[in-house]
Subunit: 207 residues, 2 copies
Amino acid sequence: MKSLTKKQSAILKYVLGTLQGEGYSPTYEEIAKNFKLRSKATVAEHLATLEAKGYLKLPGGRGGALQPINAALNISRAVLVPLAGLITAGKPIDTDAAADSNEAIAVPADLVADPANTYVLKVRGQSMVNEGILDGDLVIVQRNPSPKNGDVVVALLDNAYATLKKFYREQNRIRLQPANAAMQPIYAKDPLIQGVVRGIIRKFQTT
Amino acid sequence: MKSLTKKQSAILKYVLGTLQGEGYSPTYEEIAKNFKLRSKATVAEHLATLEAKGYLKLPGGRGGALQPINAALNISRAVLVPLAGLITAGKPIDTDAAADSNEAIAVPADLVADPANTYVLKVRGQSMVNEGILDGDLVIVQRNPSPKNGDVVVALLDNAYATLKKFYREQNRIRLQPANAAMQPIYAKDPLIQGVVRGIIRKFQTT
DNA sequence: AACGATAACCGAACAAAAACCGAACGTCAA
DNA sequence: TTGACGTTCGGTTTTTGTTCGGTTATCGTT
């Protein structure tokens, strides 16, 4: 990634800032005003160099007007994802807990590939510490019928007992491997795969 | 996800707002009135664009009476936080790694109390698995000179060697307790507290 | 100090997208 | 049948990014 000059960096920060904070991309005039420039051409030049260096994606279309700028980096917004329930290893998933208080969690958009099919489970208990998942963690789960090898999945053993494991398809069985390599894997013929884990968020209370 | 123009963003915000506040979706005329538009056609145009960009789901094409608009996605506040460097337990924090590529991470706003004094460190190595922190995790850190007891802090032992531990002030020393209660605490007289950990984000690659 | 290269800047003219309008139309529920 | 509502159609106005031909700073090198 090529390095930027001071001015370029400032403009990039401003663009990404409004894109993120306000929710829309600034117009050239707004940028110009913000930096006390009197010509939009100058702004265009800066943005062109930023694009050339790979920091921004200007809308491809020719000609034009008012075309929102897409950030190249993962600068998209956060998505509100419903909190679907509590997951405790070895127990059924408790969907009732969050049913009434249909809470929604803000999740960075780059953790969410398919917003319509994504939900959040809150982890209860210490039983997954060996997978690096602690009590109170939020796991972002995407409903997905066909996980790839190596994906972390929410699996229901015997159709009820929840567990978070790495998924591997073998000859005629499925291996569920704990993230901690020292632990023994579980083998199952036909576990019910609830979804694929895309990310984890841990919040510490603000004292 | 395509980004929006100023007007589009404003209208989206309004629609989602009344949806959440009032419980039903506003009529086209209400929207028009709110934005001082004299034609419903303009509103229809805007909503069509919003739908095309994937921010709204308009009621199924059939003719029409006032049916609620379903928000497919919600914009919500996330904050752009700079990626300040790499943290490897037992080693100095590597700030150079991210110095030039001033990358920024979208973090849910509720993990960030003070945006100006918050930054992100990327964890390197397996040495903190016992604290439930894996290689590649992102820790959200708030600069804070005075951590409270029980806060997870980024501490620099001997002014250089980084570690993530729970912070407890005792009589005439400071106890740094691993998150895993089974492990032995570290005692130090005057560790340099780099900041307080507010949250952790773990991303799994989308295969 | 002189040179060249690159970054930063300017203003005007232009075309196309975005934003807007009014009126007529169809549909549904009360 | 009567509204209230969303939809469609034809425009017009406004906003905005692009382009072009330049001028000034800035910086490293000779």
